[in-house]
Symmetry: C2
Subunit: 471 residues, 2 copies
């Protein structure tokens, strides 16, 4: 049975379109965080939407599940096959055409396998901004759509969902749904593309997308502001928004513990040094951006930061006076994330809460974690402006990383409980994947789960697409 | 059977919550354009989400359909009951609480029956902007969500969908789905609220919404620019977007015929006079807005308009030097819409096309209409920036309005065909309602209709909610 399917798939995709050797498959069987490893019956590498369609049709007929995979840069196992070898992985890595770009209309049509970096570069060559931006530049557009990716620009431009004008999707029975429209306004019936955004390939496989483009920023101003606590960080953010309106494009919270970790691990590497005369417990990296040179973002930033210092909301501030200084400030933010990936035992979280609840969330999650593992080191950092603080934890300085890892499930559940109690989400921008299915079952209302199941049944009654993910 | 249901509904909603007299019902049985009139078994006026839930439960048990209705300001009969008296109208007009407003977090929670005007005023009292804005200020929030309303601010702030953070919805079986979350980022499972936005009450009844708030505009600049044709209008828009980026908040196309109609019907009323020294065939009303006083929108507008004049893209321009002058320019835009409502035989359309296709759309639709009714007068106006040109038509100057009205179906179909051929939509911001169901069946791909039906079946298998609308 499996042999017949493989032969049929080879006939459709070509021999190099079907990987069955363990060595060839290995890179597709675990994701970036490598917390789980599966086994694929085969890895399919179609070159066109037609080939995706034909492959899904064959798999559906054979009763073999299909796990769609883009850049495989996820954190939650959403593109990792189950361990029993019952499913094929369908990689979009050869769907890499940019089909169309209209600078005036402000949209581009790209296939699912185009990387985020390539799509952004192509837009920029045409004087336009693809506003989606996050650490995973080698992620692919299909995965960004399927996970409704977030990142650093959400405050100004929204999530991936807001940038998707149209989609082309292969359904669970192999039929192609053509929703590749470039319309800002379309209410002629149910907006079907919404079904496939953020549902992690469980309702359809995105093969191409029409993405909205924005004007390129013409003016940018960046500052690092030292504040006594997260409440003060919010006060500074509110002040900024009053002064500059929608131009606040980033507001990243950075804790002392994150900087210390970054400095300790980067040693004397250039740029990695204390930004202020004396260490501060908390800092906010704020950036203003505008698509117009008529917006004096530098003046606005100086005025707002000056007022925050005068009002004692801020203790100190550094405003970037050059692109190099700007890069240096962002290197602090990015360095503390990298330093955590390199720290044995570092626990990552991806909760969000309403913005006003951030101080309570950090306080309560810190107390709760310390009660479970005394001495563990919270590193709550990230997107202050949209409530998505990554409440990460390091083992106690003198503790054993493995012993700490053994307590992860307890810690994760406790942090998820705090976020839920404050009206938050257990998965802000990384999705549920396979890793958070149990947590979703535990914490989401029964009616939400029932509605999700009804949708799944309506669109994929035989469970062909990514079974075990999200539900 | 019907009597029992009415008695049960009265027990739940109170006697004044159930209107059965023809005189009391009449206002709920036709919408703003009055193109169709239905008959309701009764009009229900619940005061709370619990009452909506109980009423839907009773109706579902009795096999009686429910037509949700907000401000009843629609154009397509989406909230009009069928003529056979088989359905009740459920009006949200008494669900008028503003439950919560968080200026810092930038969101407000309002019940479905709050009018757009009241919601905007409440946000403004807290120094915030509810960015949804269109002619229907007496429309209600539930209807705005259910139709994914558009309007004048879409270019800058997007459709209603982009402003909805959370929803509370009564399902077809009467259960209440609580999705009242205020999170900018939430990917913990399917984003269920998307199902209820823009589906015109066919999948659930919106009873409350969490809406995103923006900073209030601090700086606004407005100009009317005379251009030789729609191609030049697009060139001016492109130039503006290059100069001022995302600050272009409106770009409304105004044709000569629209101004003539406005002047003829308003007579000598103040403000209604030719804006330029000599009449021009086309003009664009452009507005820039920013939430920051540090954005020199006036300077940007002057620079862009000056450059457009120099490049001969524009023939003339008036920049508003005061709020009174700004209001005068907008009165031209609003006046031509009102003048059409007052013109016997005026045919309204609500198509959209990709922005770059607007000139071709206007050209082709004009030729097509003239072939059907020689001498008819196209008045294509509206939202240049998002492709939503209302290609309206007046009868020939010497023609009989009733004879013209008899040709509407042919004209509507022809214009819908042109829009569809150019990759457009037959319903940009007014929805399908009952009026456009046949057109959707004719023009939408079969797979789209099938997926819409599958969703309807998944969420409302017995067809309780708004049957005959959208599908």
């Amino acid at each position: 049975m499996a042999d017949t399917l493989i032969a049929d798939l080879c006939a459709v995709l070509g021999d190099d379109g079907v990987l069955t050797e363990p060595g060839d498959r290995a890179g597709y069987e675990t994701d970036l965080l490598k917390t789980r490893t599966g086994r694929a019956l085969a890895v399919l590498r179609p070159r066109s939407t037609g080939q995706v369609s034909a492959a899904v049709r064959l798999c559906a007929a054979a009763g073999v599940a299909v796990v769609p995979q883009g850049g495989n840069t996820g954190f939650c196992g959403g593109a990792t096959p189950p361990p029993d070898g019952s499913a094929v992985v369908l990689s979009t890595e050869r769907l890499t055409r940019i089909r169309h770009l209209d600078p005036l209309g402000g949209h581009m049509t790209v296939e699912a396998g185009v990387t985020l970096a390539d799509a952004r570069a192509e837009a920029e060559r045409h004087g336009r901004l693809l506003a989606l931006h996050h650490g995973g530049l080698s992620s692919r557009i299909g995965g960004n759509v399927a996970t409704n990716a977030g990142g650093n620009n959400v405050l100004h431009y929204g999530m991936a969902r807001g940038l998707v004008l149209g989609l082309e999707v292969v359904l669970a029975d192999g039929r192609v749904w053509d929703g590749l429209r470039a319309l800002a306004k379309d209410n002629a019936g149910t907006d079907l593309k919404q079904l496939f955004i953020g549902t992690e390939g469980t309702l359809g496989i995105v093969t191409a997308a029409v993405l909205k483009l924005h004007p390129l920023p013409q003016a940018v101003a960046t500052a690092l502001v030292a504040v006594p606590d997260p409440d003060a960080a919010l006060a500074v953010l509110a002040r900024l928004q009053r002064e500059v309106g929608e131009a606040v494009s980033a507001a990243e919270l950075i804790p002392r513990a994150g900087l210390d970790l970054h400095f300790a691990r980067s040693g004397g590497r250039s740029g990695a040094r204390e930004p202020f005369d004396r260490p501060h417990d908390w800092q906010v990296l704020v950036e203003l951006a505008s698509g117009s040179r008529f917006f004096d973002v530098a003046g606005a930033l100086e005025a707002a930061v000056g007022a925050a210092l005068e009002a004692s909301e801020a203790d100190d501030a550094v405003i970037a006076a050059s692109e190099a200084q700007r890069a240096g400030l962002w290197a602090l933010r990015e360095g503390l994330a990298v330093a955590q990936v390199e720290t044995p035992g570092n626990l990552k979280n991806d909760t969000s809460v309403p913005v006003a609840a951030i101080p309570a969330f950090i306080r309560d999650a810190s107390v709760t974690s310390a009660a479970i593992v005394p001495g563990c080191v919270p590193i709550p950092f990230g997107h202050l402006g949209d409530g998505n603080i990554h409440f990460n934890l390091n083992p106690p300085p003198d503790g054993d990383p493995q012993a700490f890892t053994a307590r992860w499930p307890e810690l994760i559940a406790a942090i998820e409980d705090v976020a839920t109690r404050l009206g938050g989400s257990i998965a802000a921008e990384h999705g549920l994947g396979r890793s958070k299915v149990a947590a979703a079952r535990r914490l989401k209302p029964a009616l939400d789960l029932e509605l999700m199941r009804r949708l799944k049944h309506a669109l994929d009654p035989d469970g062909v697409l990514n079974p075990g993910v999200m539900l």
